[in-house]
């Protein structure tokens, strides 16, 4: 780590100790450690997953940014890369994986589908963007995004991590351990988001005049 990034500026260190001692804040040290070892969940949904693999291979080599340790289990992962179309049938599995990830955790929506539904938005089995359920930190455009775009998105995530403060992050706040718990949706006649039960009931009791719109 270069001195200027980790050390506090404007703090006078005697010249003979300059290469031995660094004075910094806890936040910077903490974030430096976290940003350089983001472990993504080994989790591919669709086409974007192939570009995610490509970004891991020799030509693009995401390991340069400390993000190469893909973990198949959510218990060991820091970041969920939603790489592809989120379907209604798959959504409960994704939510379960997310809930199983320990804090700190981040969500990156890779590609048009994960961000908004993309070209498949009109499909009856497609969730129009994972952000309807999970809090997304970074959106990466593209269909699929090139490995370069993916890496750019990952760097954006690192910048976001850099800005967090140990005093304010949600996973150290008392009584807020499960603040990011997302209730499991249910697969019924269509996808039931249990947070919106009342709204759904109310809309369904009225006559659904879709054609008149």
């Amino acid at each position: 780590m270069e001195n200027e990034k980790l050390s506090l500026p404007n703090y006078n260190i005697p010249e003979d100790l300059e290469n031995v001692v660094a004075i910094t804040t806890l936040d910077r040290l903490y974030n430096w450690g976290r940003r350089s070892s983001v472990w993504p969940l080994m989790f591919g949904l669709a086409c974007c997953a192939i570009e995610m693999i490509a970004a891991q291979t020799a030509r693009y080599d995401m390991a340069r940014f400390g993000m190469e340790v893909m973990r198949p289990t959510p218990r060991q992962a820091d970041m969920m890369l939603v790489s592809g179309t989120v379907t209604k049938k798959m959504l409960p599995a994704i939510i379960r994986l997310y809930n199983q990830m320990p804090e700190p955790k981040y969500v990156v929506a890779m590609g048009a589908c994960a961000s908004s539904g993309g070209p498949f938005k009109e499909g009856y089995n497609v969730v129009a963007g994972i952000d309807k359920f999970l809090p997304v930190d970074v959106y990466i455009p593209g269909c699929p995004p090139t490995p370069q775009a993916l890496i750019a998105g990952m760097i954006k995530l690192q910048e976001k991590i850099d800005k967090q403060s140990i005093k304010k992050v949600r996973w150290y706040e008392k009584g807020k351990v499960d603040s990011n718990y997302v209730p499991m949706p249910i697969l019924g006649p269509d996808l039931i988001d249990v947070r919106r039960n009342a709204e759904i009931k109310q809309a369904a009791s009225q006559k659904t005049t879709q054609e008149s719109v």
């Binding site: 669709a46 209604k88 599995a93 009856y124 089995n125 697969l187 019924g188 269509d190």
Partner: protein
């Protein structure tokens, strides 16, 4: 350079004058069979006429005529033209058609799909459950009177987008403000979700009955997936295990079902091409190839000579990189984490560079057009292709083989583990390398040559042991044959226009039906398109290789060890985009 083995068509009407009539609708071919006689005629088609491979089964909803039609495409594994026959039933629920699973086991998944998406009940089907959507889902989406929650208009381009340009978010038009559709008066709190008892009950079917011969043990059910590092995507497999031996297995799919068919029926013919890219996302060029070939069949237009060669070059490059990735991923599944696949991806990147140079995109090329291709190959890309084909790829293939083939662990894992014998493979409609590794030289490039494959000198790769080792080695054989084709194509490619048609946003497709198929790296990729003369297809159906091949996985894995299962599954080289569509 063999000509197609047989070009004569069978006269079913002469054989069954009472129950079969020729399909006389303009643009249609084949025969219409009476529902009551379907099984009798189908048995005769298989046994008397020798159509042993039932490739595609699908339904069409003719709303205006108040009919539901089931279309069967049968072929001979010795090659030649196919036989199409149809059953028509009244469109009154329950729509019932006898199941042909007893005759061709390969109809299994496709009949389930027709039940799921079109609501055609196949009587006598042993396990008729929904396949792509979940149990409890409301409606059969591919019916013409069923509208998706974000429905806007019957066909694109939507008036709100063009020429008006007054687009609002689809969410604002839906009463639930999302991609949702609930029956009237639905109460989510009172709803009890369907459980998966049917799935687990179907696992019991194959449980071994020989209780006397060994110690009785409890069987356990293990669910692999949909999130599992080695199911090649979001496939889920429910297995029952007796110790380490698999006693029952059912694949559960639909986790990537993104409604390709329904969206395709709203799209114009040209708009479908980029969607086909996203079917088998390793081989967008092959998918384009299959689709445009089908539509060209319907439109009866020629393809520009130079474009034919470009198409073959792209399709074969695609096959090579697909097989390299297959080998890399198989090694991953066997436990050689990452190193071989890194080698494979290195070559893949070079092929993708070429795709990017000709089409502008690495993966989703959207490169083929009706009558040709969209751009010519630039000179520097042609030079790259030559370097790859004549120098680098042959050497790298040899290198891969040298590194891997003799490896003791690899040989121990692969040799002698049975995959599928020829008889079963044909029974389950398996095509592609798995069928050829079982000793059946069935390759559509030879069996029913499309495009210009009849001009090239190449051998159909075939191996005979039907074990995992042969399934693995045959990919190398196919890479070598593809390189042979490429060498000839590069030498013969003529100068000239790259499209026989003028570029157009809308194409005129005469009414009728067509089933086009190509040899994709995974097997037979088929497209069944029904046109009614409008700018959008009336029925658009994809017959993916992965989906149909996967039918055999159940019988193939029963009795195998769970540790081999992952590798056995890898043999089919499934891609979920294509499998679930």
């Amino acid at each position: 350079m063999a000509a197609p083995a047989s070009t004569q068509t069978v006269d079913l009407v002469a054989r069954f004058p009472d129950s079969v009539s020729a399909d006389a609708r303009p643009g249609y071919t084949g025969f219409i069979v009476k529902k009551e006689n379907l099984l009798e005629v189908a048995t005769s088609v298989r046994d008397e006429f020798g159509y042993d491979l039932l490739t595609a089964v699908t339904g069409v909803d003719y709303l205006a005529e108040n009919k539901m039609e089931v279309v069967y495409h049968a072929y001979k594994t010795t090659g030649g033209m196919g036989l199409t026959f149809k059953v028509q039933v009244d469109r009154v629920d329950p729509v019932e058609v006898p199941s042909v699973v007893g005759i061709w086991a390969g109809a299994d998944f496709q009949e389930r799909e027709a039940w799921d998406l079109l609501g055609i009940k196949f009587t006598g089907h042993p396990d008729l459950r929904r396949i792509l959507m979940w149990e409890g889902y409301e409606g059969h989406p591919l019916r013409k009177d069923w509208q998706e929650p974000f429905f806007e208009e019957e066909a694109k381009p939507f008036k709100s987008r063009w020429p008006d340009g007054q687009h609002t978010f689809a969410e604002n038009k839906n009463p639930f403000r999302d991609n949702l559709k609930f029956p009237e008066g639905f109460d989510p709190e009172a709803y009890k979700p369907e459980n998966e008892d049917d799935l687990y009950a179907s696992l019991e079917r194959f449980r071994s009955k020989g209780e006397n011969d060994r110690l009785k043990t409890d069987h356990i059910v293990v669910n692999m997936g949909p999130h599992h590092p080695s199911t090649h995507g979001v496939l889920r497999v429910a297995v029952t295990l007796d110790g380490e031996t698999i006693t029952g297995l059912k694949p559960v799919m639909g986790y990537l079902h993104r409604n390709h068919d329904k969206i395709g029926e709203r799209n114009t013919y040209l708009q479908i091409i980029p969607y086909t890219d996203r079917l088998d996302y390793f081989n967008s060029m092959s998918n384009n190839f299959g689709y445009v070939t089908t539509i060209e069949k319907l439109m009866k237009i020629p393809v520009a000579e130079r474009a034919e060669y470009i198409r073959v070059i792209m399709a074969e490059l695609s096959r090579i990189q697909n097989h390299l990735i297959f080998i890399g991923m198989l090694m991953n599944d066997l436990g050689t984490m990452y190193t071989p696949s890194l080698y494979a991806f290195e070559e893949r990147e070079l092929v993708l560079d070429i795709f990017e140079a000709v089409s502008g995109a690495r993966m989703m090329c959207n490169y083929f057009r009706f009558g040709g291709v969209v751009r010519d190959i630039p000179d520097f890309a042609m030079q790259k292709i030559k370097d790859l084909v004549f120098d680098r790829l042959p050497a790298k293939t040899d290198e891969m083989e040298r590194f891997l083939n003799e490896n003791e662990v690899l040989v121990a894992r692969l040799k002698g583990i049975h995959v599928l014998n020829a008889e079963d493979a044909i029974k389950y409609s398996v095509t592609g390398p798995v069928l050829r590794a079982a000793g059946v030289p069935y390759d559509l490039r030879r069996a029913e040559p499309y495009s210009i494959y009849d001009r090239f000198d190449f051998d159909v790769a075939v191996r005979h042991n039907a074990d995992m080792m042969d399934n693995y080695l045959i990919r190398f054989d196919e890479i070598r044959q593809s390189l042979r084709i490429l060498e000839q194509a590069i030498k013969q490619i003529p100068e000239g226009p790259i499209n026989s048609q003028k570029p157009a946003y809308q194409v005129r497709v005469p009414a009728g039906e067509a089933y086009g198929r190509i040899e994709s790296p995974k097997g037979e990729l088929g497209f069944y398109v029904v046109s009614n003369g409008k700018p959008n297809p009336y029925r658009y159906h994809v017959r993916p290789a992965s989906f149909v091949n996967l039918q055999a996985v159940e019988s193939m894995c029963i009795g195998a060890k769970i540790a081999d299962f992952v590798a056995l599954l890898a043999m089919f080289d499934i891609v979920m985009g294509e499998l679930d569509r």
